[in-house]
Symmetry: C2
Amino acid sequence: MPHRSPPSKPGRPDAGTAAPGLVWTRPAAQRRAPLTREAIVAAAIPLADAEGLAAVTVRRLAAELGARPMSIYSYARIESKEELFDLMVDEVCGEMLVAGLPDSWPQALRAAAIRGRAVLLKHPWWIELIGRNVLLGPNGTRYREQKLAAIHPLSADPEIKQAIVLAVETYMVGQVTFALDEQGSPELERRSAAERQEARQQYQQSLIATGEYPHLAGLAAVTTSAEGRDRLFTLGLDWLLAGIAASLEPR
Amino acid sequence: MPHRSPPSKPGRPDAGTAAPGLVWTRPAAQRRAPLTREAIVAAAIPLADAEGLAAVTVRRLAAELGARPMSIYSYARIESKEELFDLMVDEVCGEMLVAGLPDSWPQALRAAAIRGRAVLLKHPWWIELIGRNVLLGPNGTRYREQKLAAIHPLSADPEIKQAIVLAVETYMVGQVTFALDEQGSPELERRSAAERQEARQQYQQSLIATGEYPHLAGLAAVTTSAEGRDRLFTLGLDWLLAGIAASLEPR
DNA sequence: ACCTGAACACCGTTCAAGT
DNA sequence: ACCTGAACACCGTTCAAGT
């Protein structure tokens, strides 16, 4: 009877890594960090940054942390994956906070918006999630509080103040939404980002060629470089801030 | 030997509906509409409206249309589900088009933004998708063209014109993003929308109670009724438009 | 050639069994 | 009580087989 190896049961492969060499050369299965909510969120964010939100899988995350899938739920104290997303969103909100805002309120709002945009461009999935039903966490609340503090000196109705903060936030988020849409996400499509960009460009040209979009045709020359997009962003932001300031001036 | 019914093979149940009564009472399995791309998109949109994007499943859609899953791919001529989403997004862009825009360019941009917002509030999933890498389709392009046409009389650099249209679009999309976030999506969570709203309210109160958010505390009284949100939207929109107009005026 | 059933390689989450 | 392996009920999509 030939020697047959027994059916290889998985048997705690610890993140699935095969163990080469002698036992002595291998350190005991020691988790790099104790599995905490912070560690889980901290692992999920770069994963989403690099491979898109779809890559953030309970199973994948567990493997990355040398744990079993269901441990994610236990240790992060989440009831569903959506709650993990809530945590990730708030973590990025924390990154958006600015240390020393200028005293001038328009300058302060401007700085906050520019900072927020820079952070969100690094975490494209944030925009995707904010479209869902994300609960406003402590950092998100802090971010809003910070802007309210900046316009506190203004003498205006609470409703007006709320409108000001909302308008600036809203403009920033909208700009990032469109910017990401143009730049494309790193979702590792079947087509690469470059190919997709190329296909899009070509399709736009074909639409313009129909003659149905005469005004768009005149714009086709306008570049959409990174600097160009930065400029478009601040142009609109300054219009908005100027409009706010003008409405507050006594006539 | 007892009479045993043969193992019930599925056998083309046509959308899975059991067939009651005699054959004569049942019309022959006649598809309500021939399976076309339009029919598929037209079925997907109300499904997403009512039950959220997650409910739009190839299998579910097929069942709804009395077809088999893979037929969706064949008949809609899509290579992936993401392409179906692209089609849905563009369909809604078509809904956003306004028939007769006012001659005054600020009025025209205002009307387009208000219309766009109203449409998007009815299709909450649009915001979720636009955060992804959606290709700009014919209707989306038409929507942009329409606004470019509205500001055509202005004498300004092409870049400025692009910035104007982008700023208004951006503001509108950002506002809808936040509005939906507050109103909550119909995703049929484990908690109902009302419960979620309640929990959120309570959590906000607890944050304010810490005393860490003094400026937010002053705002807590501001209602977030539908009319209130409409007002906040137009307030900011008019600031933006005023800022644009002011920057174009010769000094 | 076009269409499609069954199969594949995944998901998030439940739940009963472990400690 | 807390943790987790196996199982469940799904996914989107591949692919070979049908017509």
